[in-house]
């Protein structure tokens, strides 16, 4: 129990008020610290909804989500924002950088949001992350002037900036070509080893999923398979 960084207890999700659609049914899941997990499932299976709930971006209709043993349903919006900022890094399918800022500024953004000053040490860390994702050369480019792969790698560096314990990734390579996909996964694995970061990655690519320590399959809003290596 103690080394579960995320725990879901009886999580359910219903969308709609007039016509109710239940997308998640009584999910019981726990993710261990430093683990590398993948969630697979068909479109509409509820896997993205699940990830959003884990990431406190969405609230469950029933059940609770515990992050480091803290019941997130009891936290205010601002407390949740702080929790996300400190504990969780997100990598989305469509990279979601702020197009008005440069790659480097995007990477620094989580530190600024945390209200911490941009010290030389912080800059050095950001430089190091840019280097890790292989973007040192384009770090001063505006986000919109980079290729899809570069943007996705910038998003990864950004997700790592506050040294979060958890990284949630929703189809992080969804719109990348297969070579870049490989590169990005190798990078995520490396980060997992190097920084002991817990990864929960949604993918529809079985090949990729098989590289994870654990594969959870969601089918029709329920956990269908849970395989640990």
């Amino acid at each position: 129990m103690a080394d579960n960084v995320i725990e879901l207890r009886g999580v359910e999700k219903v969308y709609g008020t007039a016509i109710k659609t239940k997308v998640l049914f009584d999910i019981q899941l726990a993710f261990e610290k430093e683990s590398f997990n993948s969630i697979i499932g068909q479109s509409g299976s509820g896997k993205s909804t699940l990830l959003n709930i884990i990431g406190t971006l969405d609230r469950p209709s029933a059940g609770t989500v515990l992050v480091n043993g803290v019941d997130t349903s009891k936290l205010s919006r601002n407390k949740l924002a702080e929790l996300r900022n400190r504990t969780i890094g997100f990598i989305f399918q469509f990279h979601y950088l702020l197009p008005e800022f440069t790659a480097f500024e995007n990477v620094l953004m989580p530190v600024r949001i945390a209200g911490r000053p941009i010290t030389p040490a912080v800059r050095a860390r950001a430089e190091e992350l840019m280097d890790l994702v292989g973007l040192t050369k384009v770090k001063d480019n505006l986000a919109m002037n980079m290729s899809g792969g570069q943007q996705q790698r910038t998003a990864i560096a950004r997700a790592l900036m506050n040294q979060p314990e958890i990284i949630l990734a929703d189809e992080p390579t969804g719109n990348l070509d297969s070579d870049t996909t490989e590169q990005v996964y190798d990078l995520l694995r490396e980060i997992n080893r190097k920084f002991k970061t817990t990864f929960i990655i949604i993918t529809h690519d079985r090949r990729i999923a098989e590289k994870a320590d654990r594969i959870v399959e969601i089918k029709d809003g329920r956990v269908n398979l849970d395989i640990r290596k």
């Binding site: 979601y96 800022f101 989580p110």
Partner: protein
């Protein structure tokens, strides 16, 4: 400050749109500055032309033809009230001018030239000659001077019919013309004969009295208040304190109408500026909802997200106000520089009041900030999930 930095960057990244909004606010502010300066200028010039060279609050006996003996006491009262800036004693009487078998009615005004000069500016209105220095020296109006074919140094008779002045007046007094004035008002140029106080006292055969005390005030629109204060101090039913406002009701209602229309224009301009900014910023929230969603996912708080739009409004307000003041002053200056009368005076008299301009700028800034409250509030409703789902 993160929210400010993001706001500035959002505005910078869509520079074209930002400039357009700033120009929009600027045009609004410039109209306000220009109309405001124009109306104030018109009013000032109108007031100045109408009552600038006349008594604004006059103390006289309630019944015509009376005298005030204790005028020193009244002058002391006048001096005790802040708004009064100049005081002059007057001894005047209606009379008849006789010259070379011609006659005309005149108003002989004995003036104390130190006090009256600041009200009437005779020196500036002299077209020939000089001010009276000794008794029985007079200034006459341009019209009389020309009509009767006078020359400087000519003498005429001030005739008091035995029925005037209570029958005690001196019937015939010879006076010498030492100067000619032009008030640009025919009634005055035609009737006034200006001389020293002792001359008129001698004509009227009276002692140390005056017929009226004339004053000017600093704030002409508060003249009624000052007049009332003075009347209270004098506290004598036989004495009337009359202010220009009660004598110029039509002018006053015209001025009030102007002020009201000016305020109306300014209110509507401000309103349209507010609506413009609010609607543009509301669209900006939609444009930037993806970014706000990302920021929220990264842990930005609702308050900080709202501040982004508040700062956008403030930045737009500051630049809009600057552009507007610049444009407005530019318009004003070009009007006063290029639109001139034949004599070189501006067609549109503008009054540029730094206080008013600062106020216009402040109104623009506040209204832009106020308008941004709507999008600021909207931004808190942006759901991260919606943004992520819709890509």
């Amino acid at each position: 400050m993160l929210s400010f930095k993001i706001a500035a960057r959002f505005l910078k990244s869509s520079l074209g749109q930002t400039i357009l909004i700033i120009i929009g606010i600027g045009v609004g502010v410039s109209v306000q500055v220009f109309i405001g300066s124009l109306i104030t200028g018109l009013q000032k010039s109108l007031v100045d032309k109408t009552i600038g060279s006349s008594s604004q609050v006059t103390v006289a006996t309630a019944e015509d033809g009376g005298y005030i003996a204790n005028y020193d006491e009244y002058i002391a009262y006048i001096d005790s009230i802040d708004n009064f800036q100049s005081v002059a004693k007057i001894v005047e009487t209606g009379s008849v001018l006789l010259y070379d078998a011609k006659s005309k009615s005149i108003l002989v005004r004995g003036m104390d030239f130190t006090g009256s000069e600041s009200i009437y500016d005779f020196a500036g209105k002299l077209t020939a000659g000089r001010l009276p220095a000794a008794d029985n020296e007079v200034l006459i109006g341009k019209t009389t001077f020309e009509d009767l074919g006078f020359l400087l140094g000519d003498t005429f008779v001030v005739y008091m019919p035995p029925t005037t002045g209570g029958g005690t007046a001196v019937e015939r007094t010879d006076v010498t013309i030492v100067g000619v004035f032009d008030f640009k008002v025919t009634a005055i140029n035609d009737a006034w004969v200006i001389t020293t106080i002792p001359t008129v006292r001698t004509i009227l055969n009276v002692g140390d009295v005056v017929t009226a005390i004339e004053t000017q005030v600093t704030d002409v629109f508060a003249s009624d208040v000052s007049a009332l204060q003075l009347a209270t101090l004098i506290n004598d039913d036989a004495i009337a304190v009359v202010d220009w406002k009660s004598l110029n009701e039509e002018l006053l209602s015209g001025l009030n109408g102007q002020s009201a229309s000016s305020i109306m224009i300014q209110v509507f301009v401000t309103l349209s500026v507010i609506l413009g900014i609010a609607s543009v910023l509301a669209i900006t929230v939609l444009q930037k909802s993806k970014q706000i969603g990302i920021l929220k996912a990264m842990g930005i708080k609702d308050g900080q997200a709202s501040l982004i739009f508040l700062f956008e409004g403030m930045i737009l307000g500051v630049f809009g106000a600057l552009v507007g003041v610049g444009l407005g002053l530019g318009l004003a200056v070009s009007f006063t520089t290029f639109a001139l009368n034949a004599d070189g005076s501006p067609v549109v008299p503008l009054f540029i009041d730094p206080g008013f301009i600062a106020l216009s700028a402040l109104i623009a800034f506040s209204s832009a900030s106020l308008a941004s409250l709507i999008p600021a509030k909207r931004s808190t409703r942006i759901s991260i999930i919606e943004v992520i789902k819709n890509g």
